[in-house]
Subunit: 280 residues, 2 copies
DNA sequence: CTATCTTAATAATATATTGTTAATAACAAA
DNA sequence: TTTGTTATTAACAATATATTATTAAGATAG
């Protein structure tokens, strides 16, 4: 009987005798949190801007587990794909769009998050601009739908609704000690009727979006080519969950946009100039 | 011959007949980027503060693949563990510490990142304060060592060195189109002598740290209980890679620290007051 | 013991950024 | 023409920032 000594093997020899079942194996899926802005077709001409809502794309599950429940669009990662490629493939499948804003969000791996077996979910955050929301809400795969999402802090709830179906996800602010700090953040507090842990993923996606619009330009991935400053401000207000003052807001975003000379039409008040995004 | 119809099955029945090999299976590992502050034992009394460096903990691989190369501390995720639990276990193993700051960093899944088989790596960022750096550098497992890390932008290189061994990781600023934006960030440009893709993980960890010290209090997880403002400022300068002006810095961090009335000793100049972190 | 070196800490000033209120502009509809 | 409504800018106050200069408090060399 010999004792295993790695130095008696070349790396090539090692790889030839390697048993892929030496360590536990599991499956890896991608779930995508796709945000857009729900512009009511009735009010598409910006007559009632207050009707703008943050929207998320969900699909109704057509197989076990969680048959018939609403879930995030997702799928398994192919053996020859990178994670980004898999996410892009799923986005292309569900939306028909290939050049979306996309970033890795978080990886979820609780042992029992999937009743079939140990399945890890790597989630992605993606943004679609509201003009394409209009286009693709009709072309969508059967059993896909945009749901409005709203984080209502004072009620401790995340409201997800498409008119027919409404999910009220109970949430709470949890404080966790991390080293020398106490970090407080919103967490899902009770099981909802969504599939898997997708309620938690949606919440994390919304919080990531909230964090990032303050320090980056990602909002413009939600905006159409032309937009008014008020429209843009309302998107910020929806995502941040608070009202902003117009003059301060204008100053802050002034650097990121340019005038087009075009104006909105057919309002009962002074028309607003339309701007477009310009990266510096 | 019957066509599969999920509605003919209850979820329980489905789970009983579920084939866990229906989808590709792979392994999941955790790799931890552990930062600390390297205080030279010779200068522990703050005589030469300029000797402070950002440090990272690496282990020398004792098995194939990449036998003998330096790598991030890591391990496979057990079947009954959450990802956080696995990361905490690995941190406890390597450092003997149980209450470290820790956050999930990013998940790496390129198909050939591991020569054995498809292994996904979920990485974690962790911070150890410099007083424990002193303590544990001696207690460390054999073949573990602290390496200084420095991102030298003007040379396009990430320098990782423990005195004996030095890795110069070539990096470049890459621009990628993400939706309507062009996002520019540092990427590893050429293979280094570190194991796996760990050079890229270290770079991402450093960039995450750089981003987060500007908007959060995580630096204090790198600081000892008592520290002078100049010391703190130098940590910021190391991580951000740029000099800061003292009065502005003092004002900015004033809210996060409190006076202790204690002063540093044995300097050739006015002693500095020692402060401590206080979360608000 | 005094002058000098060194870093700590704050004062003082200019400049820039924000928050807020108020005024004016431009349209539709009454 | 007046009124309602939203857009846009002006004006000012309040804060915050960057920068320079000054003072403080020790060690050390002579």
């Amino acid at each position: 009987m010999t004792i295993y000594n790695p130095h008696n093997l070349t790396e090539e020899e090692f790889l030839q005798q390697y048993d892929p079942n030496a360590f536990d194996r599991l499956s890896l899926s991608i779930d995508t949190v796709i945000f857009s802005i729900n512009v009511d077709p009735q009010t598409i001409n910006y007559r009632k801007l207050d009707d703008q809502k943050l929207a998320i794309l969900l699909v109704k599950r057509s197989d076990h587990p969680f048959l018939g429940r609403w879930a995030l669009p997702g799928g398994f990662v192919g053996m020859q794909e990178t994670l980004d490629e898999a996410a892009r493939r799923i986005l292309q499948n569900k939306t028909g769009l290939d050049d979306l804003y996309m970033e890795q969000l978080y990886t979820y791996g609780a042992p029992n998050r999937d009743p079939r077996m140990r399945i890890i979910s790597c989630s992605y955050l993606s943004l679609i601009d509201s003009s394409k929301y209009q286009l693709h809400v009709s072309e969508l795969v059967e059993d896909s739908a945009w749901f409005e999402v709203e984080l209502i802090e004072e009620k401790g709830c995340l409201r997800i609704s498409n008119g027919e179906t409404t999910f009220l996800v109970k949430i709470e602010q949890k404080s966790v000690r991390k080293g020398k700090q106490i970090i407080t953040s919103w967490q899902v507090a009770a099981e909802s009727k969504l599939a898997f842990d997708h309620d938690a993923i949606i919440l994390d996606g919304l919080l990531r979006l909230r964090g990032k619009i303050q320090s980056t330009d990602i909002v413009f991935n939600l905006m159409p080519e032309l937009f008014s400053i008020t429209q843009l401000q309302q998107i910020y207000e929806i995502i941040l969950g608070q009202k902003l003052l117009a003059p301060a807001f204008r100053r802050k975003i002034a650097h990121t946009i340019v005038e087009t000379g075009q104006y909105s039409q057919d309002k009962g008040h002074r028309p607003s100039q339309l701007f477009t995004y310009q990266q510096r």
